[in-house]
Amino acid sequence: MGKSVLMLGNEAIARGLAEGGCAVATAYPGTPSSEILSSIASINKDLDEPMHVQWAVNEKVAFEIAYAAAITGLRAAVSMKQVGLNVASDPLMSAAYMGTKGGFVVISADDPGPHSSQTEQDSRFTAMSAKIPVLDPDSPGQAKEMIKLAFELSERYEIPVMLRPTTRVCHTRQDVLPGAMSRISRRPEFEKDPARWAATPKFRFHLHGELEKKLEKIAADMSTAPVSVSKGQDTSKAILVSGVAAAHAKEILKDLDLIDVISLYQVLQPFPLHTTFMDHLLNTYEEVLVIEETTGVIELQLADRSRVKGKMSGFVPRVGELLPEKILNLIEDFVGKDLTPHEQAAPGGRRPTLCAGCPHRASFFAIKKASPKGIFTSDIGCYTLGLNMGAVDTVLCMGAAIGQAAGFYHAYRNEEKQPDIVATIGDSTFFHAGIPPLIDAVVQKIPFVLVILDNRTTAMTGNQPTPASGVGACGESTGSVDIESIVKGCGVKFCQTGDPYLLDDFIPMVKDAVQFSKENGPAVVIARHPCILDRSIKMPYDK
């Protein structure tokens, strides 16, 4: 080793997992987190004893698989994007109480901006709500080291630990020094302890008390204590930073020749915030500026905020990414310098669009032909871009196309004229969160058409396999589940599959579905044509 290599933040996280002796790694893809698991998959073949690496059907399932491995004493990790953490929040809240035996790291990638997400939510806030520690890296290199730190912290206190990278860490490349990939020689040893692993409410009360004691100790653990980046001569003011805001602030203080003037502290573990550090900060400085993304999680933990400037106080913007030029102005304002003016660029550039030749284009065309005045509920994936074709009216969250379709029907049920409702959902999204609402729609006999846009892949996030693919994260052969069987198994009476490229057949199929649904309840059309970016699949009429 000894030579730095260029690593994407997500590759550095994957590398950290391999160097930290992770045995089980699971994920559901989502920007900006997706490359973590695919990077592990490509490292895996170099390991003496390969990890179990898998894409799970959704984040909740991914979490539960990795967590179970961790309570046998192995090291395990699950990765997802911030909205995926919402899906996994049910097991997360309980796992915090029960704790772990082997190191268990929950990686939740946030997307301030947002660049590729529905919300700017702060996963650190979820960690605080679940009462687990969270580490906030400023760069790929630090993210790699923090993974190892997280495993150690997790085992020391028998608690899940979150790593919260943001887009600017995940999708930054940096020269990073690879370390040795260690395989910790451990065998799984699940010790039965029903009072812990199957705790009833009475025991949960006890576990909650234990959790609070753990947090108290973690808030005093020196391994994750805040770091003094620079000691300034000015003893009246200090700046407190975490995550990529720390990287921006370090550079800006140097550029402003303030690095020896203002004290800069970097918080590595925003929750729980180290108690002695908080006391030191508030007792030493007259004014403290806190710069963090995207909620004031650190700021909230400072008991006396009368001398603190941050998101809560309104000094730091609460919305949007803290770009370095914003941080520059915040620091200038804080130290009483003139603000560097920044021109605002007119919004411009190109919007993302469905690829030329994308099969979804044909599906949306057919839907508009079959139901020109319908309400079109849709979902999370490339096909959100059906917006550009006027074929997408709603996008809420994973799986909502179906639940919202039912809601629209109920809203209009007493009206004289009821609109057609056509929902679209991708194949991977259908597996992820579409099945329970489809069952519900069958039970309630909702007259709507569901078009499952089956392009045989998870396209938007980089063509990860779906449960129908029969291929795993490392390219291995797996079992597979077919969509028609699920749809029929849910009790849907109209289920037809067509190729949207063959419009002459496909448009009538969607029309039939619309007619059928009016009398009989849910009708499903599976629009099957592989993603044109996925070169692994060939169609019969492809050359």
Binding site: S4, V5, L6, L8, T31, P32, E35, H115, S116, D138, S139, R168, H171, T172, R173, Q174, D175, V244, A247, H248, K250, E251, I252, K254, L323, P324, E325, L328, H342, E343, A345, A346, P347, G348, G349, R350, R351, P352, T353, L354, C355, C382, T384, L385, M460, T461
Partner: protein
């Protein structure tokens, strides 16, 4: 001793053109020269044909993002450059643009342009316009007049990166090298024809 390299480059285009790949090649060239490097990239939905931009910082930096008016240069794979990308450029920055005509590019002190799409077609590899632009950019900033901060890496540095990346695939390697050389040589021929 040579002064330490400190260079910030913006690479602009639309999803699918290979902005990420060009960024990565330059970053790897930096590492080969023992220089610290940070890049920040656009992933996700924007990759479906939307505007994408990479920030590349070589030398002693901590932040992965370039602040407005701090970039030393711009590599633009599309001639229609969003204003937001132009705002990164310092007043005397260079700009290397994939365009057949020198247009009125606002705020550009040093403009070098060539039709990379056409050159890529001529070498029979339409998708290699990104590499053509990189080759042209290296030649233009190093060989051009009055460029304040030429690209830190040479065409040999880029070739070596390609050699390492594609060592197992001669066909891809030859095509990639041909593309950067086509771009590189086009700068020379442009000059001699003037």
């Amino acid at each position: 001793m040579k002064p330490a390299v400190k260079q910030q480059i913006v690479i602009s285009g639309v999803g699918g053109q290979g902005v990420l790949f060009v960024t990565r090649l330059i970053a790897e060239a930096a590492i080969d020269k023992g220089l610290p490097v940070l890049t920040s990239e656009t992933h996700g939905m924007a990759q479906r044909g939307g505007t994408v931009v990479s920030h590349l910082k070589v030398g002693d930096f901590a932040s992965p993002l370039i602040r407005p008016r701090k970039a030393n240069g711009l590599l633009a794979l599309k001639a229609e450059i969003p204003d937001a990308h132009l705002l990164f450029l310092e007043p005397d920055a260079w700009a290397v643009v994939n365009s057949d005509s020198p247009r009125d590019f606002r705020n550009m002190a040093k403009l070098f342009n060539t039709d990379c799409d056409q050159l890529a077609l001529e070498i029979g590899n339409a998708r290699s316009a990104n590499l053509v632009l990189l080759g042209f950019g290296v030649a233009a900033t190093i060989g051009g007049d009055h460029v304040k901060q030429p690209m830190f890496c040479s065409i040999e540095d880029i070739r070596n990166v390609l050699l390492k990346r594609f060592s197992g695939n001669k066909k891809v390697l030859d095509a990639a090298v041909a593309a950067i050389e086509a771009g590189y040589d086009s700068f020379g021929s442009k000059r001699s024809s003037k």
